[in-house]
Symmetry: none
Subunit: 242 residues, 4 copies
Amino acid sequence: MPTSAPATRPKVAARAPAKTLAKRKSGAAPSREQSAQATRDNILRAATKVFARYGYEGGSVEKISKAAKSFDRMIYYYFGSKEGLFIEVLEDMYRRMNEAEQALSLDAEQPVESLKAVIAFVVNYYSKHPEFITLLNTENLHRGKHIAKSQRAKDYSSPAIAVIAQLLESGVRQGVFRSDVSARNVYLLIAATGYFYLSNSHTLSAFLGENLRAPHALAQWQAFIESTVLRTVTLQPGETNG
Amino acid sequence: MPTSAPATRPKVAARAPAKTLAKRKSGAAPSREQSAQATRDNILRAATKVFARYGYEGGSVEKISKAAKSFDRMIYYYFGSKEGLFIEVLEDMYRRMNEAEQALSLDAEQPVESLKAVIAFVVNYYSKHPEFITLLNTENLHRGKHIAKSQRAKDYSSPAIAVIAQLLESGVRQGVFRSDVSARNVYLLIAATGYFYLSNSHTLSAFLGENLRAPHALAQWQAFIESTVLRTVTLQPGETNG
Amino acid sequence: MPTSAPATRPKVAARAPAKTLAKRKSGAAPSREQSAQATRDNILRAATKVFARYGYEGGSVEKISKAAKSFDRMIYYYFGSKEGLFIEVLEDMYRRMNEAEQALSLDAEQPVESLKAVIAFVVNYYSKHPEFITLLNTENLHRGKHIAKSQRAKDYSSPAIAVIAQLLESGVRQGVFRSDVSARNVYLLIAATGYFYLSNSHTLSAFLGENLRAPHALAQWQAFIESTVLRTVTLQPGETNG
Amino acid sequence: MPTSAPATRPKVAARAPAKTLAKRKSGAAPSREQSAQATRDNILRAATKVFARYGYEGGSVEKISKAAKSFDRMIYYYFGSKEGLFIEVLEDMYRRMNEAEQALSLDAEQPVESLKAVIAFVVNYYSKHPEFITLLNTENLHRGKHIAKSQRAKDYSSPAIAVIAQLLESGVRQGVFRSDVSARNVYLLIAATGYFYLSNSHTLSAFLGENLRAPHALAQWQAFIESTVLRTVTLQPGETNG
DNA sequence: CATGAATGAGCTTTCATTCAT
DNA sequence: CATGAATGAAAGCTCATTCAT
């Protein structure tokens, strides 16, 4: 946590990472800083798994340190507190999601295909990174109080809405999309349909009597999202944008 | 692990209410059975609030018993274990949702208006019963393991899909709805869009920079759901159902 | 029941003492390892007393930690669970008994005197270590389930039977002992008479109207054991071994 | 607990049994008193089993009331407290042992055979009534404090010693037994060897590597007791009683 | 830097017992 | 007589955290 931390964030953790990250060398045998960085990374990765699986209260410091093959003490050394660790887990989760999003290369001249690509990306990402969903649910259970304490969080505002806005504009220009649909709503629509389906798959499966996570079921749902999103944004025959 | 299996669920919990409810008298001073039932109900209500607010691990037995103005011990007397109590909370949550759904009176001859009514109901119910959302998230975090232990859960399969199926059929008959849209998908679409928006409102608000729970924001979202659902199910000019 | 199986026994308990014992320094102020070892030893000693006095269920973790002037938590730190602690108490009890036995120096050429020495040792040991008796009774009440979980228990098989076998052989060679008496039975005879008398002294005293633990009563009983054992193993005038 | 109870013995229980026992009728349908007596007996029997199996602390009131298919409350109604119940269990245990002893018919003119019969009885009784052993061990763990509170206990002083004294006298008269052996010691020798072997069978089995409770092992041990007792009491060729 | 030991509050659960019909 | 409800203390155990090298 390099930036000026809120009162509840411990001091120890504030220095360590900046230092070690800065000095990382490229060469040969693992330096002292590298092994320290490795310890820190191990803990962060382990914490992500444990919090994702057991929630914030259910994810005990001991579970994490064991999963990281380290010691409880190290968590306090690097992250100051359980809460500080959780905040970094959230930041890291957003950062990774953003990186993945940015790797998406879309052709704005093909707005329909690009929208489908966005949908495919979202469904695929949620499906492959279930920790993203459970961590977000956990944080929402706590009413967003941890992410509110993060300084870095703001840097990670999703570029997705801007991307979708571009696609929508392009479609409008091409005369295929309606002009009265907001990018924000399309983004939320895609996120909602992808997220809910996977987030609630366990309870839904119990009632619908089918395994929603089976590949063909997921593919079918993705197709449905596509048709829904496209019908929402597409200008119908006879309609005009004013 | 004393109470994980249904078989070990204490009999008291299963038997007591039926008995006591049956014997309830209409008159005067609260009978012994009535006050016992009141104790049980208080605990169940308090547990619903506490679990919804703090999750399963975060919702301690002590918090619950204090909120219910009762004693830890009574939770074990009536529900056998914390887990047994949580299972009943889930059952109760589903039961109440079902009751509310059944109170919806829809005119199948007006499928568009009725679909809007369903959407309004869902958005309203999720909005007015935030515990429904957080309890479901908590249960999904635990991979549905508690509801899987419930005997009664199966009886609570939502009638919503059947209702929507009726409306879709009616719309098809009237020539206004497409025939290739499944009721299950429409149900999931409505649930997803309503649920996600409220479930993730805390983390979304941080990024979108607006309060999603503000009344006008919620109304705007509901209108968007309506348009999306209707565009998904409506037969466009020039299209036919084959 | 987190620690019933040996596999789940915390490693700390198994590893810690070996390590810390090895590093113990001879000099000056108590090292960190020494004080840790002291904490562990205090708990083990206190647990021996408390379990011996109150039994397994009656011997609460709190009673033990207070008697050890330590904390409940440390019992779990060093022994993993109450059960793990009890198992180590049993192991320790056997180990001490074995050590004491091995300190007995017997002259096989004097089998009669040596048998008397064995009897004296047993009566004296049971009398001076009443915890040996009550711990064994407690463990037998639990049908030997704790000692069955001990890995080390097998190493502590009493050498007493082998010693007695030597004495019997010597006596046979000298023509004073019968050859048809098994060492196992002589061992059990000595143990039984010594053990029962002390183990049941409280209930027996109530019925016999005398204090069996009074020194002269004990001496008289020891003399009776001697005569009984010797009459059992001694070849009578006129008898031969073959 | 009909007799004047010590301070710690509850009052309620003091009346009930005397009443119900007195009014018991011989005839027809189970009277109210009879069913009350049955409830009381069920509890006593269940408590005997539970205390024998789990010890005093380990034998919870709930375990007992469930085993008796009754209610916790009934234990307090009939026995005043857990301790009062345990005392009655002990009294009942002694009473049954006494009754069994008195049923032994011995021919004093055949002292050797009769001694063997006594040994056979003891071994058989301990073997068939393991609760006798574990209850006595439990009571000795508590240093006889419960039986000390029993008024009735004194009435149950075992007639065994007197019987053995008779047999010894007869044997002396016949010139086959020594006159310097006390009946009390012979009684203790028989009891000790029978008791210890069964009481400690679980821990002994672990070390001796054989199942001491197997029928042939038990028979072999009984034969050993016989030879030991007889060699202890028998006058050897060449010896005289004075 | 790393690590083992220590700490006390808090957890879920069970205990023996009493109250109120 | 019988029984369901209530009670508070105490049980075994886990928690996040800090101390001391």
